[in-house]
């Protein structure tokens, strides 16, 4: 195991910038995503033929309130709701297609009921995330994140190319081009401090250029009120649970899982970019991000507006600005709520030319793509993983471009699979599931933590299976040593020992994969090993960690609420052999 490299971060998640900086960065993030958040419900209502000023106003107000509450919770969690990382929340593009159908058939009331009940699936998914850990892997998250780029890319180019009546044909291209160049140049040559201001400066430059080209339309800005509450009424919920509800529910459930995968990927990526030194992933953070996402969907359903999800741009912004302080999300969420009551402010943001927003989004998508690549490569890209990633990515691209038997697929399947992220995500999950079935050669044993017999039983169990794979005694000693040290770590760190450990081993030629599953609440073994100094400070206390660092080829400790899985690989060589690492 080699030490992790340092990241290029100015402020980590648990560091606090000055309030003015945090407010500015929160505002900058809001600036980036507000138009998408506010416009999505309007687009759905217009496409469903249900748009009117009152309904639009309510939907936008509700969506900003929910986005604000859930973004604040991401920054400042309450119980299990919130990741503790600067993950911005907003309307989910994945739901557009199913929401249009629901609104057309039963208005916002039916859509709300479907969204709220689908959220229950997300709560279950979050609660039992470890059941899905073999199929919802970082590779699946990486493919989904890369396909988000593919899916959103046309939106980005549409925004840049959007014709504006009464302006020159090249006006949008010129504005988008200058905005794009400004942001890219600041990102590449700006240095730490200028990088922080890069997106804002790029947008201001874009707006100035747009104004000279006649793209900046302050009409809505002048006519909107400074302070106001929505005129429309709450649409209520359709609790008749009729045929429309049951026919639309499967589509909502699938898209809810896709949204959850997106949040899963974001919650992993944000952890990767938010610490000065990379730390082992916390799946409790992922679960809490999912719970908060589910809460957002549930609230959206009750309020009768579009469902929520985490915004992947949160990760790009952290990488771009170098600031991962959770306080930024608290400010950003507060600004969402503030904007819900200040129509003038929202109108100002919505007045930003589409070409400027599109160019800005283009740069951020490029950065997001890198996050996807990092997720994919973090466990190494062996043949099987490579096939899963490559196939599912291109399946996603193919469906996004609607080139996979478009005449044969029924309409309901089109509605789901025409989103490349959905198609590719499902493909990645199915392929990962198939591979995990293929690899189900693991043998397991449950051993109690009390009594001296446990270790002897574990040793006999390991010896039997390693011998069957023709491992020699010296290699078996190494396997038993790693297992004993791992059990010892779990046992010594746990507060209560009234538990057992499920030990699984799978041996492939000269490599053993061990997994120790337990409900013990312990520190993360990976983190503990990472924090070891070169010279032992407390040799007696650190012995297990030092032995594991030297003897195991890899250590991964996935911790969920109430369950943890310690995975280790051990090479079939003697303890004294130096070639194992």
């Amino acid at each position: 195991m080699s030490p992790s490299p340092k990241t290029r971060l100015t402020l980590a998640v648990d560091e606090s910038p000055k309030p003015a900086i945090a407010a500015f960065l929160g505002f900058q993030a809001v600036l980036l995503i507000i138009s998408g958040i506010a416009l999505t419900p309007v687009i759905v209502l217009r496409a469903a033929g249900q748009s009117n000023p009152t309904t639009d106003a309510w939907a936008v107000f509700a969506v900003l309130m929910v986005s604000g509450i859930t973004t604040i919770l991401q920054g400042r969690p309450l119980w299990r709701f919130g990741s503790g990382y600067p993950l911005f929340m907003g309307t989910s593009g994945s739901f557009i297609a199913v929401c249009i159908v629901a609104v057309a058939q039963g208005g916002l009331a039916l859509m709300g009921t479907l969204v709220a009940t689908s959220a229950l699936l997300q709560f279950f998914f979050a609660y039992r995330l470890y059941w899905f850990r073999k199929i919802i892997t970082p590779e699946v998250g990486g493919v989904v994140v890369m396909l988000i780029v593919v899916t959103v890319f046309p939106v980005c180019t549409d925004l840049m190319n959007a014709p504006v009546p009464g302006t020159a044909p090249e006006a949008s291209a010129l504005t988008a081009g200058i905005t794009f160049l400004s942001i890219v140049l600041l990102a590449l040559f700006g240095g730490k401090r200028l990088r922080l201001w890069g997106p804002f400066i790029g947008i201001v430059i874009g707006c100035i250029v747009g104004a000279t080209q006649g793209l900046f339309k302050p009409g809505e800005l002048q006519s909107s009120a400074w302070v106001g509450i929505p005129l429309g009424d709450w649409p209520g919920m359709d609790l008749s649970f009729g045929l429309d509800y049951w026919t639309l529910l499967p589509g909502f459930l699938i898209v809810t899982i896709v949204g959850a995968i997106e949040t899963y990927g974001d919650a992993i990526s944000i952890q990767r970019v938010s610490h000065h030194r990379p730390r082992p992933l916390s799946f409790k953070v992922v679960q809490n991000a999912l719970f908060n996402d589910g809460l957002g969907n549930f609230l959206s359903g009750i309020l009768g507006t579009m469902p929520n999800t985490t915004y992947s741009t949160s990760i790009s912004l952290v990488e771009f600005t170098g600031v991962a302080a959770r306080r930024v999300a608290v400010w950003g969420g507060s600004i969402f709520i503030f904007l819900a009551f200040f129509p003038k402010f929202s109108a100002l943001l919505r007045a930003i030319p589409s070409s400027v927003v599109g160019a800005y989004l283009l740069v951020l998508l490029a950065i997001l793509f890198i996050s996807g690549l990092r997720l994919i490569s973090e466990n190494g890209l062996d043949y099987e993983r490579g096939v899963i990633v490559s196939l599912s990515f291109w399946i996603g691209v193919a469906f996004q471009n609607q080139v996979v038997f478009p005449e044969v697929l029924p309409n309901w399947l089109h509605a789901i699979l025409d989103n490349g992220m959905t198609a590719g995500g499902i493909a990645a999950i199915v392929l990962t599931g198939l591979v995990s079935l293929k690899n189900r050669g693991a043998r397991s044993i449950t051993i109690p933590l009390t009594g001296g017999e446990a270790l002897m039983r574990a040793n006999r169990f390991l010896q039997r299976h390693a011998k069957a794979q023709r491992w020699d005694n010296a290699a078996i000693d190494r396997l038993q040593l790693v297992t004993e040290e791992a059990i010892s770590f779990l046992k010594n760190q746990a507060l209560y020992h009234r538990d057992s450990i499920r030990l699984s081993v799978e041996i492939e030629e000269d490599l053993a994969h061990l997994e120790l599953a337990t409900s013990l609440d312990t520190p993360n073994l990976g983190s503990e090993i990472e924090s070891l100094s070169e010279i032992p400070e407390k040799p007696e206390d650190e012995a297990e960690l030092r032995i594991l660092r030297a003897m195991a080829q890899s250590v991964e400790h996935q911790q969920f609420s109430g369950r943890s899985f310690l995975s280790l690989t051990v090479k079939a060589v003697a303890i004294e052999d130096e070639s194992a690492n």
């Binding site: 040799p539 007696e540 297990e544 032995i547």
Partner: protein, 118 residues
Amino acid sequence: MLSTPRFETRPGVIVYRPEGRIDGASSTAFYDTVTQQETEPFKQLILNLESVGFISSAGLRAVLKLARWADEKGGSFAVVALQPSVAKIFDIAGILPPSQIHQSEEAVPSEGDASQAT
């Protein structure tokens, strides 16, 4: 299974030559065996690990506890004749100072030598 035969090679010099594995299952019994047998004062306690092919952190802790116990009893402590796999674990954990680890029983300085050296 671990057996721990005892020898008194010179007056006041006690040598234990355990055979087997010193791991989480046997370390407590190993420590108890030694400490319960030594009721009389001794000058030196030597642990000859020539026949020990496996030691874990639990075993290392038992060895360290023995070193401390010997110190409390007024005797010196040394481990000798480590197998390569056991030496590797001692090296990784850094649990004993090098001055307490020797090639053989003969290489351990006697109490007289040690006091002359100091």
